[in-house]
């Protein structure tokens, strides 16, 4: 392979200025400095987008596992309320204190802590960093033919700020009073008064952690936007960009524009918690029989507006990169171009725009008048249209293909109906009148988990199996990949499908005893025993889902060192530019500066069976 070109500006008109910026930032010590940079610069404080991508990937996969473990413990309490947790119960008691898990029984405070932290960890420390930080960082510069991100040091800063945010979230479990316990939504006034015994409580650390995580996302998003606009290889016009890059670009804009309001709100709530301000506290609060000693005059609804102004676009931050990954894998494994590439791109843009004006559909029940709620449910119905277009387009892309059932393809295929369920069940929640019955019930839990778990996480698995050979030069085991897929698919559905029934029956989320208090009894109508029994089956399915990840974890690490070596730089016979690099790509990525000569998915255009034409192949 040729000499890496990171330290040399490309000299092409489109790229020269930005590429020179990259070059000076990545290799300030002169030519080939990266070859003898030590372990710390190479693997820990690296400015190489690929190393940072892998750092993001490994850190966020660890958080994914942790967030899942919290949930498996909560599922014990839901299935068998008030019984000591086997094996881990005594450990919790020892580590977190008697107050949290006396005799191994989860306390309501610990349940609420785990609930809040499960959501926070999964959204902000696992899925977003995986979909955006890991895949975005590793793949985007390669797919657009760039030597690195536009601002490599900013990129490194983004990872380390994220890392610090994660550490602070972890530390919060061990401080007096435990981690934040007011839901991942942290509604005021509860977030401020939930732990009155401690001035610096879990919520304080949660807010500091969130400010760091949001800062990290902002650093990442400006970098992605600059990179995608400025560092595209010659010939990589907008409409030749792989859909994955489009998805990441829209995601970057969502992060950039949606996160600052919550950063501001987070600081305001921090003031409420630490210094007795009343941004979100109204006049006249009486807590446990005593008037609260604050000035009052604030608004709890202001927090909700600021929170959901972030958190609804956040949903699309979670799903758009996943759609991007799925589109790449489907094009490659059907051996044909995507159907309606342009409608995919325009739909992603429409989703990006509309996602900023739907946030208050999370707040229908806060006493919203007819006009406002009409506005928000109309925009909510509007945003369902581009989502339907994207899913339909991906379904139709399969028609006429020559479908290879590789492991990444299985995950990508499963994504479609699973995201379909997640999207469709959003409809009755989007209509305000039906939301009255379903708001904050298990129906909602089922809905957004279908979007994020067998949706986004399946897409992430697809991406890991798909790009692993480029990252390591080795394949993951196909057999164990398929075992992982089959088990995950079955158990995911056994976990989340019954939740729709529970929700329709009126079982609410965040109940420490799984809703047992609200069971029908003594002539009072309420939840059926059937709904409560589903708690047990869901919990068992969740634990089995956990075991189903063991083959994946072993496969991942085993394959890094022992997996089957790739025979070429392009083992999947793909067309996009990341496969035109040496394997694994060196610092600087391409052996010689690539040029895009065609669209991203030119499969089966030549007479050879399953012929494909890489983007960099001259016409």
């Amino acid at each position: 392979m040729g000499k890496p070109i990171a330290n040399r500006p490309f000299g092409d008109g489109l790229m020269s200025h930005a590429a020179a910026t990259v070059a000076s930032a990545t290799g300030s010590e002169g030519n080939d400095a990266h070859h003898d940079s030590g372990f710390w610069r190479k693997y820990i404080f690296s400015t190489d987008h690929k190393v940072i991508g892998i750092q993001y990937g490994l850190t966020s996969l660890t958080f994914l596992l942790l967030g899942f473990l919290l949930m498996t413990l909560m599922r014990w309490q839901l299935a068998y309320p008030g019984e000591p947790i086997p094996l881990l119960g005594p450990v919790l008691e020892k580590v977190l204190g008697q107050g949290m898990a006396f005799k191994g029984i989860m306390s309501p405070d610990l349940y609420n802590s785990f609930g809040a932290m499960h959501g926070t960890i999964m959204v902000f420390l696992a899925i977003v960093p995986l979909a955006f930080g890991a895949f975005g960082n590793y793949v985007v510069p390669l797919q657009i033919g760039a030597p690195d991100m536009a601002f490599p040091r900013l990129n490194m800063a983004s990872y380390w700020v994220y890392f610090m945010g994660g550490v602070i979230m972890l530390v919060s479990f061990f401080i007096p009073g435990g981690a934040a316990k007011s839901g991942w939504t942290s509604y005021s006034p509860l977030a401020t008064i939930a732990d009155m015994g401690h001035r610096v409580d879990g919520q304080t650390l949660w807010l500091i952690g969130m400010v760091l995580l949001i800062t990290s996302s902002l650093l990442g998003s400006v970098n992605f936007i600059a990179t995608i606009i400025q560092l595209r290889a010659p010939g990589m016009t907008w409409m030749r960009m792989p859909f994955f890059v489009w998805a990441q670009l829209v995601t970057a804009f969502l992060l950039l524009l949606a996160f600052p309001p919550l950063e501001a709100a987070g600081l305001m709530q921090l003031m409420d918690n630490l210094f007795d301000t009343s941004f979100f506290l109204p006049t006249g609060l009486v807590v446990s029989g005593n008037p609260l000693a604050v000035s009052g005059g604030g608004s709890p609804l202001l927090w909700q507006h600021l929170f959901w102004f972030l958190a609804h676009p956040e949903v699309y931050v979670l799903i758009l990169p996943a759609m991007g990954i799925v589109a790449e894998v489907i094009a490659n494994n059907t051996r044909k171009p995507l159907f309606g590439y342009k409608s995919l791109v325009y739909s992603a843009m429409a989703i990006g725009f509309l996602s900023f004006i739907v946030w208050a559909h999370h707040m229908y029940l806060t006493g919203m008048g007819t006009k406002i709620s009409t506005f928000f449910q109309t925009t909510t119905m509007m945003i369902s249209i581009p989502s339907v277009i994207i899913v339909t387009t991906l379904f139709i892309s399969l028609w006429g293909g020559s479908i290879r059932f590789t492991t990444p393809m299985l995950f990508a295929l499963a994504f479609l109906p699973m995201f379909g369920i997640g999207g469709l069940t959003g409809l009755p929640l989007g209509f305000n009148a039906t939301d009255i019955q379903l708001h904050d019930t298990y129906y909602v839990i089922g809905h957004f988990h279908y979007v994020v778990a067998p949706g986004t996480i399946f897409a992430i698995f697809a991406g890991i199996y798909y790009w692993f050979p480029k990252i390591t030069g080795r394949h993951m085991s196909e057999f164990w990949g398929k075992v992982h897929f089959a088990l995950s698919f079955v158990f995911m559905n056994l976990v989340f499908a019954p939740m729709f029934l529970q929700g329709l029956e009126g079982m609410h989320r965040r109940m420490y005893d799984g809703g047992a208090t609200y069971a029908a009894a003594g002539g009072i109508e309420g939840l059926s025993q059937f709904a409560l029994k589903l708690n047990v089956s869901i919990s068992h399915a969740a634990w089995l889902l956990g075991w189903a990840q063991v083959p994946f974890i072993i496969n991942l690490f085993w394959s890094i060192w022992k997996g089957r070596k790739v025979e070429s730089d392009n083992p999947w016979e793909a067309t996009t530019l990341e496969w035109a690099t040496p394997t694994p790509p060196p610092h600087g990525n391409f052996a010689s500066p690539p040029t895009a000569h065609r669209g991203p998915y030119e499969y089966s255009q030549s007479p050879a069976p399953n012929g494909f034409t890489p983007q960099n192949e001259p016409a």
Binding site: T334, G367, S384, I385, A433, R510
Partner: protein, 259 residues
């Protein structure tokens, strides 16, 4: 039809006047979802089988040529528009718009206040008028900030038993509020849910149609006792309600202390 929907969708039995409309919308939305999902699934499974590599070794780069999908997407948009304009918006306007509230004189007017972790119900008493309050008067012994000087408050009834009693077949106007954190007042059989937000008092209305006892669920995480914040809504016949009401002793504002 109403019973059919309740059974099919696994809902709590219906016991309010407006709930039928809400259930019908829920049913139509699920019908749309079902049709779309079955359509997608059939297409998906057939395509995956028909175009597997072994059966179709050479892909057709063009694939689908027809514009059916565009029409289908148009149809989905149209159906959503019908559900929105025909059902969701009018239903909401009926419940949330103050112009559509029933006359207070022909309704049972109550105040429902959430507190960690129980429900407080207040009745205006015989005069039908609640005593005035002022946030400045709030203290440990007067958590509602009631004005002891106001004569209208003398016959007000305050119940701290998490039980709310109303007569059947007469509109109930409930002003929902909270003392501390955000709770949410939800009675599934009545098809009502309203967040109880401190600093705000938000009116809702519904007409119970069946005598019985129904769970009041706190539908918003409100602290470590959230799971146990159960209340009971008792719907009595008109004579039973009068008899019950006569037995309640008014508690003059701020006189009896709080706990």
């Amino acid at each position: 039809m109403e019973d059919f929907i309740v059974k099919l969708l696994h809902l709590q039995p219906l016991a309010s006047e407006h709930g039928g409309d809400l259930d019908r919308l829920l049913f139509y939305v699920h019908l749309l979802m079902f049709v779309l999902f079955v359509g997608w699934s059939v297409f998906f499974l057939y395509t995956v089988w028909r175009f597997r590599e072994r059966r179709n070794p050479k892909a057709d780069p063009v694939g689908v040529k027809s514009h059916t999908s565009t029409y289908l997407e148009g149809a989905v948009a149209l159906i959503e528009a019908v559900l929105l304009l025909g059902f969701a918006i009018p239903l909401w306007a009926r419940g949330a718009s103050l112009d559509n509230f029933p006359d207070e004189k022909e309704a049972t007017v109550i105040r429902v206040i959430g507190r960690q972790f129980n429900w407080i119900a207040r009745y205006p008493g015989e005069d039908g008028v609640f005593g005035l309050g002022d946030p400045k008067l709030i203290s440990a012994s007067n958590p509602f900030g009631l004005d002891p000087e106001d004569a209208n408050g003398a016959d007000d009834i305050t119940l701290e038993t998490s039980e709310i009693v109303v007569p059947v077949n007469k509109p109930v106007i409930a002003h929902i509020s909270s003392l501390d954190v955000i709770h949410s007042f939800s009675v599934k059989q009545m098809r009502v849910t309203q967040d109880a937000i401190p600093g705000l008092s938000i009116p809702i209305w519904f007409t119970p149609t069946k005598v019985g006892s129904y769970q009041i669920t706190c539908a918003q995480l409100c602290g470590n006792g959230h799971f146990s914040m159960r209340g009971i809504l008792r719907v009595l016949s008109e004579p039973d309600y009068r008899e019950w009401l006569a037995k309640q002793s008014p508690r003059p504002a701020a006189a009896g202390g709080y706990e």
